[in-house]
C-alpha cells in the first residue's frame, strides 16, 4: 500500500523500472514469436493476423512502455540525488505520471483480451489505421493508450525540468551539473515539444474513426500524408528522447572507469542542445519514399546528415576520455564500450539512409529493421545495461556478481549482433519487413535462421542479467556508499539512499564534488 501511494522519487523511479522490465519481457516474447515464425521459409506457426499484432505490439511496447519509462525511471531516481536534492520538485505530478503511464500500458495489453489487438504497425499509418481498413477496436485501444502515455510522459518531463531548474544544490550551476542530468533535461524539454504532435495526430485519428471526421481520408478531402508528417514530427525527436539519457549514462560511466574527467564537457553538453534543435528538422527523412519534391528532399537529406556531427562529437569525446586512462573493465564499462561500437554501426546506417537514393532502395526492407535495432538496442539498451550494472549498488546496497555480469555481457553481445547484423544483408537482397513468411529464395532461409538463433542467445543473455539482479538482491556483497570510487553526488548518499537523501545540503564548486571532498588537497575547483 505504501508503494501505491508513494511520492518519494526513489520509489517512483523503481516502479517505472519494474513496469518497464515487465513490458520488456512481454515485448521480447513478441519478438521471439516473430523470429520463430521467420526461422525458415514458408512456415505457418502463427497466422498473418497474429503476426501483424506481434510486430505492432512489439514496436509500441519497446518504444512507449520500455524505453521511455525506464529512462524516466532512471531520471526520476537519480536526478535529485545527482543534483543534491532530497525530492523532485513536483512529487504528486511524478506519481500521477507513473500511474497514467501504467494505465496506458494495461489498456494497450487489455486489447489482447478482447481478441482485437492493434495490428497496423507501431506508427499506424493512415489510411491503414482508418476504420474501413482496421474495423476492429484494436487501433482505438492503441490510440487511447498512447494518449494516456503521452500525457504521462509530458507530466514526468515537466517534473524533471522543474526539478533540475529549481532544486540544484548551492553552487551547482548548469555548467557544473552531471552530464546525465544535462541530457535528461534536454530530453525532457524535447518531450514537452514533441509529444503534443503525436497527441494531435491521435485526436484526429480518433475523430476519423469514432466521429466520422475525414482528416486522413483522401476520398473525402483528407490527406494520409498529414498523419506521416505529424507522426514523424514527434517520431524523430523521439529517437533522441530515448537516446540522449542513454548518452548521459555513458557520459557518467566511462570517466569513472577510465579514472579521468570527461573530455570536452562543454562540447558534450552543447552538442546535446544542437541535437535537440536539429532533431525537429529531419522528420521527413522517414518519408523520402512519398512524393515530397526535390528541394524538400535535399533540405531534409542535408539536415539528416548534419545531425551526425554533434552525435559524432560525443563519440569522439568518450573515446578521448578513455584514451590514456586507467581503464577498469567492469561489466558496466564493458557494456559502455560495446555501446560505442553498436551505436556507431546504427548511426552510420542512419547516415546512409539520409542519402535519398539509398533510402528509396532500402526503405521498408530489413535494412531499416537492422538500423533501428542498432540505434535503440545497441544504443539505448546497451547503455541501460551499463547503467543497471553501474547504479544497482546504489539502488539496492548490493553488488551485482561480476562473473555472471561478464557472461551475460558476452551472451548479449554475441546474441544481439548475430540476430541483427545479418538483417542488413537480408535488406540489401530485398527482403521486405512486416511479411509473416517468405518464399525459399537464395540466402533468405539461412540468414533468417541465423537471426533467430542469435535472438535465442540474446534472450538467454538478458535472462542471465535478470537472474544476476534477482540473486544479488539477496546474496550480493555489501556495496557500501561508493563502491566505484565515483565523483557525482549520488555516491555521497547511503546505498540504498535513506528517505531523506542528504542529511545536509551539499555545496558544489566543481563538476566532481565527491572528488573535491575526497581530495581536499587538490580539488577540481582549484583548476577551473
Amino acid at each position: 500500500m505504501t508503494w501505491l501511494l508513494a511520492l518519494d522519487h526513489k520509489r517512483i523511479g523503481i516502479l517505472y523500472m519494474l513496469s518497464a522490465l515487465l513490458f520488456f519481457l512481454a515485448g521480447g516474447m513478441e519478438a521471439m514469436v516473430m523470429r520463430a515464425q521467420l526461422a525458415a521459409p514458408n512456415l505457418k506457426l502463427i497466422s498473418p493476423q497474429i503476426y501483424n499484432q506481434m510486430f505492432t505490439m512489439h514496436g509500441t511496447t519497446m518504444i512507449f512502455l520500455v524505453a521511455m519509462p525506464v529512462l524516466t525511471g532512471f531520471g526520476v531516481y537519480l536526478v535529485p540525488l545527482m543534483i543534491g536534492a532530497n525530492q523532485t520538485a513536483l512529487p504528486r505530478l511524478g506519481a500521477l505520471s507513473f500511474w497514467l503511464q501504467l494505465l496506458g500500458g494495461v489498456l494497450l495489453y487489455f486489447s489482447f483480451a478482447t481478441g482485437s489487438a492493434p495490428n497496423a504497425g507501431w506508427f499506424s499509418y493512415a489510411p491503414l489505421s482508418e476504420k474501413p481498413f482496421s474495423p476492429g477496436p484494436g487501433v482505438d485501444f492503441w490510440a487511447f493508450a498512447l494518449l494516456l502515455i503521452a500525457a504521462a510522459s509530458i507530466g514526468a518531463a515537466i517534473n524533471l525540468i522543474v526539478t533540475i531548474a529549481t532544486e540544484r544544490a548551492p553552487g551547482m550551476t548548469m555548467r557544473l551539473v552531471p552530464l546525465f542530468v544535462w541530457m535528461t533535461f534536454v530530453a525532457s524539454v524535447m518531450i514537452v515539444f514533441a509529444l503534443p504532435a503525436l497527441a494531435a495526430a491521435l485526436v484526429m485519428l480518433l475523430s476519423d474513426r469514432l466521429l466520422a471526421a475525414h482528416f486522413f481520408d483522401p476520398a473525402q478531402g483528407g490527406a494520409p500524408l498529414l498523419w506521416q508528417h505529424y507522426f514523424w514530427i514527434f517520431g524523430h525527436p523521439e529517437v533522441y528522447i530515448v537516446v540522449l539519457p542513454a548518452f548521459g549514462m555513458i557520459s557518467e560511466i566511462i570517466p569513472v572507469f577510465s579514472r579521468k574527467p570527461i573530455f570536452g564537457y562543454p562540447f558534450v553538453a552543447t552538442s546535446t542542445v544542437a541535437i535537440a534543435f536539429l532533431s525537429y528538422g529531419v522528420w521527413a527523412h522517414h518519408m523520402f519514399a512519398v512524393a515530397l519534391g526535390r528541394n524538400f528532399l535535399a533540405i531534409f537529406a542535408a539536415a539528416s546528415m548534419l545531425i551526425a556531427v554533434p552525435t559524432g562529437m560525443k563519440i569522439f569525446s568518450w573515446i578521448a576520455t578513455m584514451w590514456g586512462g586507467s581503464i577498469r573493465f567492469t561489466t558496466a564499462m564493458l557494456f559502455a564500450v560495446a555501446f560505442l561500437l553498436e551505436f556507431t554501426i546504427g548511426g552510420l546506417s542512419g547516415v546512409a539512409f539520409a542519402t535519398v537514393p539509398v533510402d528509396w532502395q532500402l526503405t521498408d526492407t530489413y535494412f531499416v529493421v537492422a538500423h533501428i535495432h542498432y540505434v535503440l538496442f545497441g544504443g539505448t539498451v546497451f547503455a541501460l545495461l551499463a547503467g543497471v550494472h553501474y547504479w544497482f549498488p546504489k539502488f539496492s546496497g548490493r553488488m551485482l556478481d561480476e562473473k555472471l555480469g561478464h557472461w551475460s555481457f558476452w551472451l548479449v553481445v554475441l546474441g544481439f549482433n548475430t540476430a541483427v547484423f545479418v538483417l542488413h544483408f537480408l535488406g540489401l537482397i530485398g527482403m521486405p519487413r512486416r511479411v509473416y513468411t517468405y518464399p525459399d529464395l537464395p540466402w533468405y532461409g539461412a540468414l533468417n535462421l541465423i537471426s533467430t538463433i542469435g535472438a535465442a542467445i540474446l534472450v538467454f543473455g538478458i535472462l542471465l542479467v535478470c537472474a544476476n539482479v534477482a540473486m544479488s538482491l539477496f546474496f550480493g556483497a555489501e556495496a557500501g556508499d561508493d563502491p566505484w570510487n565515483a565523483w557525482t553526488l549520488e555516491w555521497a548518499a547511503a546505498s540504498p539512499p535513506l528517505a531523506q537523501n542528504f542529511a545536509e545540503v551539499p555545496e558544489v564548486r566543481s563538476r566532481r564534488p565527491l572528488w573535491d571532498r575526497k581530495h581536499p588537497e587538490a580539488p577540481d575547483w582549484m583548476h577551473v
Binding site: V162, T166, V192, F215
Partner: protein
Amino acid sequence: MRDRAQLGMAMLLISEAVFFFLLILACANFQALPRLYVFSGSILTALLLAGSVSMWRKWRWATVALGVVFLVGLVGTSFAMLTAVHGLFVLAGVIAIGVVPVSAIRTMALYWYFFTAVWVVIFVVARQL
C-alpha cells in the same frame, strides 16, 4: 513553491500551445473549423475573458461559474472536434480551479488565461476562413 508550480504550469502550457497549433493548422487546412456565429461566439469569448478578469482578482468561484456557463453555451453550438477538445480542457480547468488550494490560484490563472487565448484564436480563425 509557487515558482516551481508556475514553471511547471508554463511547461504544460508550452506543450498545449504546440498541440493546439497543430490541431488548428490541420482543421484550417481541411476546412474542419467550428461554425461559430458572431453573436454566440462573442458571448462565449466574453465569458472566458470575464473569467480571466475574475482569476486575476482571485475570485475563483466567479471563474468557475463563468466556466460552467461557457461550457453549457458550447454544448449549444454545432459540434466540432476543435471546440470539443478545447471544451474538455476548460472543463478540466473549472474542476481544478474549484479544488486547488488558495496558494495555487495564481498558477491556475495562467492556465485560464492560456485557454482564453486559445479560444480567441479559434474564434478568429473560424470567422476568417
